[in-house]
């Protein structure tokens, strides 16, 4: 997706520890016009699929998930990171390891908002190690729902997640795949 790649090249910043920051349009400030284009692109990529719900995880997956959900006229469900007191007691749960933050956490989805009649598209801002996506796929399996695939805004193609998730038989559509990056230069897969 050219408009997205252009924004990553112009505004992305690679930190010393290998983190790509796209805080100006996705992870801190959000550009709704770009999110709308991103939603439309996911609409094209998954056109013809039966989708009843889009599942993401708080926080940064919510914006692209919402605009994809508009295309399919379905609700977004965002998995919550555990700990909040007013969390529903009846939840699907999965453990996720975050390499970025070097810690383990639990993601939860209420039984109310996912069930065996659902056909679910996963949506997330980044795919790097694949841990969040694997946790979400686990929750879809626990619900007995059908997994349509995963829409990713930015995939770090040089990390393991994409291969790992595709080897599980999950269709992954990434709008920008980064082949390699340094503090000076970001290169995409064609």
């Amino acid at each position: 997706m050219q408009a997205l790649k252009k924004r990553i090249l112009e505004e992305g910043r690679v930190s010393g520890d290998g983190i790509l920051k796209v805080d100006s349009f996705l992870n801190h400030q959000i550009d709704p016009a770009l999110m709308e284009e991103i939603g439309a692109e996911f609409g094209r990529r998954f056109a013809g699929e039966r989708i009843t719900r889009i599942l993401t995880v708080e926080t940064s997956g919510i914006a692209p998930a919402l605009f994809a959900a508009r295309q399919f006229r379905v609700p977004v469900v965002f998995a919550k990171k555990a700990g909040a007191r007013n969390q529903d007691a009846h939840c699907y749960q999965a453990g996720v390891h975050s390499f970025t933050r070097d810690k383990d956490y639990i993601i939860q989805v209420s039984h109310r908002y996912l069930g065996p009649d659902d056909s679910v598209l996963l949506l997330d801002d980044f795919l790097a190690n694949g841990q969040a996506l694997i946790g979400l796929a686990d929750i879809v399996a626990q619900a007995g729902a059908r997994l349509v695939g995963a829409g990713i805004v930015i995939e770090k193609g040089f990390q393991d997640g994409g291969r790992l998730v595709r080897n599980m038989g999950i269709r992954v559509e990434s709008l920008a795949v980064i082949r390699r990056m340094t503090q000076d230069r970001i290169e995409f897969d064609p």
Copy 2:
């Protein structure tokens, strides 16, 4: 806003400790069609105002903020709750006490995404004690930006926040104001 009040009456659940859960369309599952209507209503209420950025706080403020931002063709900035390792070092900060979770936390906004040329609309899902809104207003003041007002999806009119924030001279537009609620019944201000 009638469509919103209808959804609150039909789907809202009041827990024993006085928390209104609207998890089916706002706080866990999100209905993008309702969010679009909510965004349009904020567009009408603040029509004619100069707005350069919409400021909210993660997580549940993001959806209504995005659809309001579409109306004004401006970016959303969401304040982050402190602790993340890949947080920008140069931030405006404010302390917020959460009565719901009975704890204090810090909200942060990078200097990059708010400055003295900005004219800011605050947006949040709930107004109860007003602590989050006061923290966001403090950040706008630190940035030297102009505060246009605050758009709130659901105001708990029986708690102190609305009075507190309006007494600070801040214009507050709430789409549904709850006058009183019990586990059996929810009543709105007209």
